[in-house]
Symmetry: C2
């Protein structure tokens, strides 16, 4: 008998039929003798409708009202699922963020959970009741509703699992798990059976959208075993675990891509101490996340070229920050390109295997793909290429690293 | 400068355009120098959708979940209106039932407000902020969301007005006020300028649906002047006030009808002490509201006929209660008729004017309408007639009492 938190995303609770299926799944799990808490998202599309309404009224909206409006979606799903479970003869009730409570900081629309007061909830679980928790939401110190940002229900589930010491947190979604590459692009992509938190973190932040990055960080910190699995099948999914729980480590876990970045190059920038701070300080103040940064050595000791990437949505904002008086920088000119893709290969195994990077560069070179920027970490290599090569690059790398499933 | 609570119903906030109009109306009122709090319903149709979902899952639903799901509609409207007001440069925020809080008893789905803790809200109003309160909802002693029953936002508004000592509570809706009769039936029906709480109470409970009965009771108890007016025009509406504020009292305020009752007759019932209690006790226990009751004197001292009305929706339930073992009653047989209408004439003036009742009976008799049951109070006469005569009876009475507007 295990203590399990299950989170069901928007497509898993898209309508009453889906919610009914979820209730039946939860019931089946309970009948195996487990203690369960469920965390739900809003019905697919519902939150988008609310966001549209809010945005139509007010571009620079009051995030407190935004959060209060948006949190209603999860409130509805939680009540409906609790009713279905009751219909199946299971004792159940809904819990809203402020009822548990999920205490958060005051960063409305992207709040962070500071504390989960789960004693009452845990008592209910231990008595055999199944709480259905509205995900994505919490309560601030000023007694107002906060939301945790897109995908925040994953974080709600992991935070709850950590708080009650769950044996496992299932993230039930519309895909069968984490794949070695996007199956829409790579036909030979395989479901990964086990992956480490570190790899999952890189996968999530490098473009695999199956889990919110923050939820993986939290799971890693609290050693909560995660399972990413489909709500619509009975197959096991991908387990995200500590490294010591993986017996045989693959060199590479997967290949990801992201089209969400844009490249900015500042040419002939005066090369003197403090220029990086002068450039990236104001960008950070404008809440623009800079990702890859490359600075060439200056050949004449006087000027250099600096290339970096920013979220594509923030490109115009970034350019105007650089062009503003806020930045005290001498340079010749700026070039920018919104049509780039970041391709990454990720794997714990690359720490102990030589030649992983050169294999990547060769594979891309063989296809005539020009590498614009390279960035590496201990378990990841990312390159920036022209966006039109995205699919070609992903498929080439998937094959080069031997990840393709054996064709029958 | 006055302190005003304005409540906007579902049709007044049906979509973003309507909500924008409401924001503009509230702004115009503020510019006249008033202090304002707004109470809102859910967008028209939204609550019905939620009720449909809940009902589809579970007929005998858990009312706590029902309330948690249903309350989301007002939560959304409150946030959206607060955002519109902010866009117009007005300081505003939404307040949910549990945030104020509106404390209620634990009768989920038809909870009664026990206490409104309005200090913080009042402080905000006095500082010039416009709070937008989610109507229809409160919080129970066990920290769960309650709802106040259909039309409950009227009650929210009046309770708030009473709590903060408002000078007036405006009920803004899709009609221009309270009419002498349903304008869809009587073309000469006129808007009433002023009406007493007592009359309004009878009008509401006898079929005029413009205000929830409970809200009128509460306004009367706390002497909160009400105005029923249209959200879509700038004309004054109907003021509901204490009797002493009405200089010239009309004999009759209006004619109402209700098709929501059914008639039950128990024939040749043994006539002995305690039969009424034996009959109506079990009906009350089954939560069936009995309205009109007529018992004939027994000619032989042994048996009598008893006629009474129940809500039409409860007819089958009432018949099965009477037929059950719960009732220890001797009678020959039961007759029932779901196709009856209750026609009422209402007016404070009838206390001091003779002949009001006979005028009613004559007017109906002249049109060949048979009166089945008569029930009177100090300021109201109701009769039960066959449903097919509804419109004819209302028009005949409206004319007989001289209520028709002068035709041009």
């Amino acid at each position: 008998m295990a203590l399990i938190v299950q989170k069901y995303g928007g497509t898993s609770v898209a309508d009453l039929d889906c919610i009914k299926l979820v209730a039946l799944r939860v019931k089946a799990l309970k009948e195996q003798g487990h203690k369960i808490a469920v965390v739900v998202s809003a019905m697919a599309g519902f939150t988008d409708q609310l966001v549209d309404w809010v945005s139509e009224i007010h571009n620079h909206n009051d995030l407190k009202e935004y959060d209060s409006v948006l949190s209603s979606g999860e409130q509805i799903t939680a009540g409906l699922l609790a009713l279905y479970l009751q219909k199946l003869g299971i004792s159940s009730r809904s819990w809203l963020g402020w009822q548990i409570p999920f205490e958060t900081n005051d960063s409305y629309s992207s709040a962070r959970i500071t504390n989960v007061i789960s004693e009452r909830l845990n008592k209910a679980i231990q008595s055999g009741e199944i709480p259905v928790v509205a995900g994505f939401q919490g309560i601030s110190s000023e007694n107002r509703i906060t939301t945790l940002g897109r995908g925040g229900s994953d974080t709600s589930a992991v935070a709850l699992a950590a708080s009650i010491g769950a044996d496992r947190c299932d993230i039930c979604t519309d895909v069968e798990g984490v794949f070695t590459a996007d199956p829409r692009i790579v036909t030979g992509a395989k479901k990964i059976d086990k992956i480490t938190y570190e790899e999952m973190l890189e996968m999530a932040s490098q473009g695999a959208k199956v889990l919110q990055t923050r939820s993986v960080e939290m799971a890693m910190k609290h050693h909560v075993p995660l399972q990413v699995l489909s709500s619509f099948s009975d197959l096991p999914g991908t387990f995200v675990v500590d490294e010591e729980n993986i017996v045989e480590q693959e060199i590479l876990s997967g290949v990801t891509y992201s089209r969400e970045e844009a490249k900015i190059t500042i040419l002939n920038m005066a090369d003197k101490p403090g220029v990086a701070a002068a450039l990236f300080g104001p960008l950070a103040e404008a809440s623009i996340n800079v990702d890859m940064i490359v600075q060439n050595v200056s050949s004449d000791g006087k000027s250099t070229d600096m290339t970096f990437t920013v979220p594509r949505n923030d490109l115009d904002k970034a350019l105007s920050v650089i062009d503003s008086d806020a930045i005290n920088l001498e340079f010749e000119r700026i070039e920018s390109d919104a049509y780039v893709a970041k391709i990454s290969v990720i794997g714990m195994g690359m720490r102990s295997h030589a030649g992983v990077a050169s294999k990547m560069f060769n594979a891309l070179g063989d296809k005539g793909i020009n590498i614009q920027v390279i960035s590496t970490s201990e378990i990841k290599i990312s390159v920036l290429v022209s966006e039109e090569y995205t699919e070609l690059a992903v498929r080439a790398l998937h094959t080069a690293y031997g990840l393709d499933a054996a064709t029958k």
